[in-house]
């Protein structure tokens, strides 16, 4: 059986950045396994700009951003396989993959980096009633059809959900000559970035109807229309608020789910909020030597954050295979992070001071829109951070930074709490 020091599952932005960081940290044998036809993942269908503002201080398109990493992967001669599906992984880090030329292949890894990304929630997850005609697409599928295959899913469009892909597709379909009639969002706030609301809806005069959902889909063969209605605070449609729209297409942008089917095969502990693995400061899961990054870990709003996080996973996987996590570090005490009062989760979930770098960035999302509120961090009962934010929303990821030196001053620290406070 062939063996590699690090096997990375997924050649999207997370997998690529992890591979590069691992290579820079001195790992020789790295293999990236990618199920699609090209490296770069979903970025390849994101032909709009706005990528890389943090990383490269310029506005790139998705393919351009991806290529910055692909180029380096090629330069570094990191091995990768395309059109290759990982069929199975085991606790002992045997990876089984399959492709047209090699068939079913088993390889041994010393470390595995999970970077499989996420998928879109389908209609069923929302229980949207009505017929099941052609013309209902998830926004990402439509994006692929338009941007990569060159086909128009439809001409008269209603979009459900104001996640970023839905917003981007509202603009994209408009630019391609379709008529986007309305974007309905069940929550009282958008799930997307503020900049996308402005640039993709407001700039094109596309209405966003908050606290609205689809209550009926008409059309037996092809979509003929939808009914949207307002919802109350329990998300139940309010009778009498129905509005009909004639359309031939419905795009769904109703959330992303990390693709953790492989992670589950080796009993990686999962976080019910993120649907991604629970990880420590090194982005390592409960299965030793298995790391996770990118949208398989938790759904990100900016790819820049994915790259940054993935680089950390790559670096730590390298440390792991090169034996740089010593026993002493492992024995140093572990602090748990707790997300409460408006904070839905944190990544990482635990911090081992012995193993952490000088700083650890902790990312999280809030569960509601908070105006003029504070992000607070408590070391046990002591408040050590109290940062005012004019606005925080579920669509935008937040972060705080933990400082190693500072943490060393609290030798008995058990718990770090992250919360939102009004004052």
């Amino acid at each position: 059986m062939k063996s590699y020091e690090i096997v990375i599952i997924g050649g999207g932005p997370a997998g690529l950045a992890a591979a590069l960081a691992a290579k820079e940290s001195g790992v020789g044998s790295i293999l990236i396994l990618e199920r699609d036809r090209e490296l770069g993942g979903i970025l390849n269908q994101c032909i709009h700009n706005g990528f890389g503002l943090h990383t490269f201080k310029e506005e790139l398109t998705g393919p351009e951003y991806a290529y910055r990493f692909i180029e380096k992967v090629l330069e570094q001669k990191i091995e990768y396989k395309l059109n290759t599906m990982v069929m199975d992984i085991t606790q002992s880090k045997i990876v089984t993959y399959m492709n047209r030329t090699e068939g079913m292949v088993h390889i041994q890894a010393k470390a595995i980096i999970l970077a499989m990304g996420c998928r879109e929630r389908p209609r069923g997850a929302l229980n949207i009633p009505g017929f099941r005609p052609a013309g209902i697409f998830s926004a990402g599928t439509a994006q692929r059809l338009v941007n990569m295959e060159g086909y128009m899913p439809g001409r008269e469009v209603v979009i459900l959900g104001s996640g970023d892909i839905g917003l981007i597709m509202a603009r994209r379909m408009t630019l391609e000559g379709a008529h986007v009639k309305v974007v309905a969002e069940i929550m009282p706030y958008s799930g997307g970035l503020k900049r996308n609301i402005v640039q993709c809806l407001d700039d094109f005069g596309i209405p966003l109807r908050l606290s609205h959902t689809i209550v009926d889909i008409r059309g037996v063969e092809r979509v003929e229309g939808v009914t949207i209605a307002q919802v109350d605070e329990h998300m139940k449609p309010v009778p009498g608020t129905e509005e009909d729209y004639d359309c031939d297409t419905i795009l769904l942008s109703v959330g992303l789910i990390p693709e953790n089917e492989l992670s589950n095969k080796i009993n990686v502990q999962m976080n019910a909020v993120t649907s991604g693995p629970v990880v420590n400061e090194s982005l390592e899961t409960n299965v030793e030597g298995v790391f996770a990054c990118g949208n398989v870990l938790h759904v990100h709003d900016l790819v820049d954050y994915v790259s940054e996080e993935a680089a950390l996973a790559g670096k730590n996987a390298a440390k792991y295979v090169l034996g740089k996590f010593s026993g002493q570090e492992n024995s140093a005490h572990t602090i748990t992070l707790e997300a409460v009062d408006g904070v839905r989760y944190t990544v990482p979930k635990t911090v081992n001071i012995g193993r952490m770098e000088d700083t650890v960035k902790v990312r999280f999302r809030v569960g509601n829109v908070f105006k003029d509120s504070y992000v607070s961090v408590y070391y046990d009962d002591e408040r050590v951070l109290h940062r005012k934010k004019i606005i925080m929303a579920p669509g935008e990821m937040e972060d705080i930074t933990l400082d190693r030196k500072k943490l060393l001053g609290y030798p008995d620290l058990k718990k770090i709490t992250v919360k939102i406070e009004k004052e």
């Binding site: 199920r35 059109n83 599906m85 069929m87 089984t96 399959m98 492709n99 047209r100 030329t101 090699e102 068939g103 079913m104 998928r119 879109e120 389908p122 209609r123 069923g124 997850a125 229980n127 009633p129 009505g130 017929f131 099941r132 005609p133 052609a134 013309g135 697409f137 998830s138 990402g140 599928t141 692929r144 059809l145 338009v146 990569m148 295959e149 060159g150 086909y151 128009m152 899913p153 439809g154 001409r155 391609e176 000559g177 379709a178 209550v215 009926d216 889909i217 037996v220 063969e221 092809r222 449609p237 031939d248 693709e259 589950n264």
Partner: protein, 480 residues
């Protein structure tokens, strides 16, 4: 002119076609959809009923028990997946236990093998996730699960291989008896036949009433379902029924033959025989049922619903199957009112109908009837070595198209080129499960379209979801 024309390529029509194809005859199935099993047969529970529910002495009871026995053999012969997982009717109070006794008596009268009442302890051992309120349960070991489409597909393919013609997207508009034969006026011209078999599901009354003075009436009874991800498919091993009510067997919780879990069906009579839409109110009811489910101890996670759908049962007013030569319309045969347990009964309906028709037409059995059929090859069932051999021979089996169900390009190509091959996205889905997984075809739609376009040599813009006007894309970009 045909000897026999069967109206409807649902599971009933396909079973009749297959059994008739044992004889020397010229037969045709006309179907308004673009595929077999595209009406009622595509949306049901996929339960193989053992036969304890049907009223003793009814045709339903007889054909259910016979059909059940036939199915297991057919599954081997025609290579489609079935699982004998057993059925449980769970009583949660003493009143309901009395009802179990009635069912047991009924089961005995109907000749259902092995049915017995289990004590609380026995049933809890069998299904530890049953609610603590469980008092007892009726257990039918011959209950099973089946892929609802695959029986029709297998029977249809086999009938086709044995010479039965299929005309899809052909809707019968009018039936006339003329000069000792029937003329079927369709949207694609007139078809002449000696004999008609009416297996038109919810429309069986319409065709029957065109030729007979003794009118029948069929109500479309809608059932809505919630289908859950395979990750919760292990809740129960058996198909778990509540104690039945007036409208049917009640809302059950059961695993599918592929390991998903579902909750359903509801039962609501509807006017419109095309209304296969799900409805806000009923989905709400189902959701509440699933959440506060009184049969399961474990909470069914509602975020694991991957799709919801509705099907229509062809409920006949007298609540029994009608399998007959229509008394006042010679050479016109009905297979009408085939509601639950129609799927289970269909092989027996096929046998019964073929017997009646063959006797009427004095048909001779033919030599060279091909009784066996191989289903779409499932690479997942092979060992790694076998799989590698397969990929070496045909690399398309090394290319995963549907990521959720791990369906390869090879399987999709097979589905397209086999008898009664798939021509649309839904027909590929029914034959291979591509697109049926947790992402509901989000990833594989463009890929499957490409394969269909390549293999059928049609433009991407002509690919449909289910034939007719159900095109997936409306044109190329830059064309608007």
């Amino acid at each position: 002119m045909y000897d026999v024309v069967i109206i409807g390529a649902g599971v009933t029509g396909c079973c009749i076609a297959r059994e008739l194809s044992r004889y020397q005859l010229n037969a045709c199935v006309v179907e308004k959809g673009d595929d077999v099993a595209s009406g009622t047969s595509k949306a049901n529970s996929g339960v193989i009923h053992s036969g304890f529910d049907a009223k003793p002495g009814s045709l339903m009871a007889k054909l259910n028990v016979e059909g059940n026995a036939l199915l297991w053999k057919l599954a081997e012969e025609l290579d489609f997946p079935v699982k004998k997982n057993g059925a449980l009717v769970v009583a949660t109070d003493e009143e309901e236990v009395k009802h179990l006794e009635l069912l047991l008596d009924q089961a005995r009268q109907n000749g259902v093998p092995g049915v017995r009442i289990l004590s609380r302890e026995e049933v809890m051992n069998m299904e530890p996730n049953l609610t603590d309120k469980t008092v007892a349960a009726l257990y039918a070991p011959t209950g099973g699960v089946i892929d609802p489409f695959n029986l029709a597909i297998a029977m249809g393919e086999n009938a086709n291989v044995n010479g039965v013609e299929f005309r899809f997207e052909t809707e019968v508009l009018q039936i006339r008896k003329k000069n000792g034969k029937y003329e079927l006026e369709t949207n694609h011209g007139t078809i002449e036949t000696k004999c008609v078999v009416n297996a038109a599901g919810v429309y069986a009354d319409k065709f029957h009433n065109m030729v007979s003075e003794e009118k029948i009436h069929i109500t479309a009874r809608k059932g809505e379902y919630l289908l859950f991800d395979k990750t919760v498919g292990d809740l129960f091993t058996a198909s778990v029924f509540p104690v039945p009510g007036k409208m049917g067997k009640g809302i059950l919780i059961a695993p599918t033959v592929h390991g998903n879990l579902y909750v359903g069906p509801t039962a609501n009579d509807v006017e419109d025989k095309e209304s296969t839409n799900t409805t806000q109110d009923i989905l709400q009811v189902l959701t509440e049922k699933a959440k506060a489910n009184h049969l399961s101890k474990r909470v069914i996670p509602m975020n694991k619903v991957i799709t919801s759908f509705a099907g229509l049962r062809a409920h006949q007013d007298k609540h029994d199957f009608i399998v007959q030569e229509v008394p006042d319309a010679e050479y016109f045969f009905d297979a009408a009112g085939i509601e639950s347990p129609g799927l289970t009964s269909s092989p027996a309906i096929g046998v019964m109908m073929a017997k009646m028709v063959s006797e009427k037409l004095k048909l001779k059995e033919k030599t060279g009837f091909v009784s066996a059929r191989k289903g779409v090859l499932k690479p997942e069932k092979l060992t790694d070595e076998e799989r590698n051999e397969l990929i070496k021979k045909n690399p398309a089996y090394g290319n995963i198209i549907c990521r959720c169900e791990m369906i390869t390009e090879g399987e999709i190509v097979d589905a397209i080129h086999r008898p009664l091959g798939a021509k649309s996205m839904d027909s590929i889905k029914r034959r291979t499960r591509a697109g049926m997984g947790r992402c509901q075809a989000g990833f594989c739609t463009p890929r499957t379209m490409e394969i269909l376009s390549r293999e059928l040599r049609i433009d991407m813009t002509e690919i449909t979801k289910k034939g007719g006007g159900s095109r997936l894309v409306v044109g190329k970009t830059k064309e608007l």
